[in-house]
Amino acid sequence: MRILVLFITGLLAACGGEEGPPLLATDIEVSVPMPGTSISSAYMTLTNNSDEPIRITKVSSPQYALIEIHETTIDDNVARMRQVDELAVKPGESLRLQRGGIHLMMMQPATEIETVTLLLYDGDLLLMSMRTTPAAQEN
């Protein structure tokens, strides 16, 4: 089976400084909704190159009415998914959003999605904007 996955093509830095972006997103994947559903998820690695902690408290997208930060856990063979308040990236460290772990849950998509823009905020402060284009992935 083929799952269409949207990969990042452009990455706009946030909180710009002369030494490069303090927050960097790599290995970004955004799945398109599974057939028959309207929910998809996004994964990426966030790296904090600054000396200060970075918090991401909100993620939005023009293509999705609602995006929540979720974490899947499996304890004693029971899978649970819970909303978490924020993504915290310590100075000099990376945080991996991955399958079966922390991820972005994206709901109520627009009818036709050519590209996806994700906007990462700390409160009302925009930290980062990223744009994706679709690509097919064989599993």
């Binding site: 089976m1 799945s31 599974m34 028959g36 063979n77 029971v78 991820h103």
Partner: protein
Amino acid sequence: MSLRNLILAFVLGAAMAAGIWAAINLQRTTAQPTTATVLPAGPEIAAFSLLDHDARPIDESIFKGQWDLVFFGFTNCPDICPITLQILSTAKQKLSESGQTPLPRIVFVSVDPERDTTDKMATYVNAFGDGNLGITGDIEELLKLTSGIGIYFEKHDSDDEFYTVDHSAVVIVIDPDGRFHSLFGAPHAIENFVHDLPLLMAY
């Protein structure tokens, strides 16, 4: 026979014996499932009345006649459910390419029958390949199926429009007699199924 020949014969004999012992033990080691837990006397699947993804009424006899890999989840689950079904689908594809027969059927049982209509289930299970079976229906009947094999599920944030469902993440193996044969604990990996399934299905 000289003493030297006698010693040589003894050494050769000992080496042969060691070789045979090693071969037998090696065979024993590789012939065991490494991930799946086999139930010594697995129960028959309890009687239930649900719907397949084509909205046809089904009962417990749907599990007779083939090996089934059964996973419980819901179509609005964006993470674990599609990942697990993709793992099962890829494992089945790999087994097919290696000439394995029989091949198991992949069964996805909804623990969210309120939202998972038969239409939704049909679209969903068909996205993971041909020959898959989706099951949904009345929740009371679903509980008859799940409680007999230790599957847990519970709605979380049930007042929320976008509620999720906590659920067992194991993959249940049902044998062609309709008995709960074995199970794979989570997290799952393609190679675990590729390794263990031919051994389980040869039992």
